[in-house]
Symmetry: C2
Subunit: 192 residues, 2 copies
DNA sequence: TAAAAAAGAATGAACGTTCATTTTTATATA
DNA sequence: TATATAAAAATGAACGTTCATTCTTTTTTA
């Protein structure tokens, strides 16, 4: 009788390879064989860690989304004022997108294609609850415009994805000055 | 001796089928055979109109992008004030995204994946020049923040894509009230 | 030493594209 | 106006390749 323990490093290598290859070629244009090669693993081994290709990309998506929101809320706590909370979260998100461009680009692709199962997408959305709660509080206190969460998200957070994707493509350079200007634009668009 | 004239209706049917199928399944998951079937055409016929699958999707992208910008600038002319010009263009873009959700969703997928050739993407960007010119003027007149065009685009225009994509997925409903609120958010984020 | 993990080769299905052939179209001729 | 004809347009079947997944065997681990 032996304890079941598949190596977590191998799983991580597979996730990492998936992100890089899907970023460069898209989901259906990256063969399992290539993912296996990049992770230094046999194609058959992938199936010890994931049910199939779809399961691999779903789990990759949820992993990255979890890392993203963990980073976003790391220094936030509910005792903060709405302004301070928003600034902290926004800047942590910007920080994630800047430092982990590959991950951010992968999320953008997932969110704009039919690549990920609807169920996994719904799971991913749940991670953002603390931000929605903060907005709820901001609306109650009359600090944030009383409009839909989707509108708030569209103008406050989502533009960062656009910037990161275009930065990765070499069209645009995000730097500290840009980030401050972007923060100001974000706050101006949602504050009352 | 006979004049060469391939039917434009058939080409349009192929483009339309490509948009719908790629929206639902993604580029690599839509076989040429399916596109052909939806356009009521033999698979081989596609190759009379396009070089190959990649060419088909590139041309589809440029067609949709051209329709998008034509719609956006239809009622704009350079004699307008910056405020008026921006409002007109912004609302025309919103109108396009609302009325032609399929097209808007297709553009969002193209802009966030490696699906389209880099060269075709560059071609697509050129269509937006009138908007960039307007911003240039707005910056000179001190009406618009003196920041990068990408930042302006990210906060003024791009959020609409997010809204349309999420609307199509049934998560969110865009209506006239929302659109007005979104316009206000857009203008607040870029005005000086 | 026995179960778990991993490997590489094999399998069968799906797909983009091409090929050989048929159908349509527009004009030239009677 | 009716017929002939040659090029263009369209077709369905076929080809060769690629890929996800599975199978059998080997290696690792405790």
């Amino acid at each position: 009788m032996v304890k079941l323990q598949k190596s977590i490093e191998k799983r991580n290598a597979l996730i990492k390879a998936t992100i890089e290859l899907v970023n460069n070629s898209g989901f259906h244009a990256t063969p399992m064989s290539k993912i296996a090669k990049m992770a230094n693993v046999s194609p058959a081994t992938i199936y010890l860690y994931f049910d199939n290709k779809q399961d691999l990309v779903n789990k990759t998506y949820l992993d990255v989304k979890a890392a993203y929101t963990k980073h976003a809320f790391a220094t936030y706590h509910e005792e903060m004022s709405v302004e301070e909370g928003f600034e902290i979260i926004w800047k942590r998100i910007a920080d994630f997108k800047l430092k982990e461009g590959e991950n951010a680009m992968f999320l953008a692709q997932c969110d704009n294609t039919p690549m990920i199962d609807e169920h996994s997408k719904q799971e991913g959305i749940k991670h953002l609850q603390p931000l929605l709660d903060l907005w709820e509080r901001g609306k109650k206190e009359g600090i944030i415009k009383p409009i839909s969460d989707y509108l708030l998200y569209a103008y406050a957070i989502n533009p960062l994805s656009f910037l990161v994707v275009n930065q990765k493509r070499g069209v645009f350079q995000l730097d500290e000055k840009n980030v401050l200007e972007a923060y100001e634009a974000a706050w101006n668009s949602i504050k009352k």
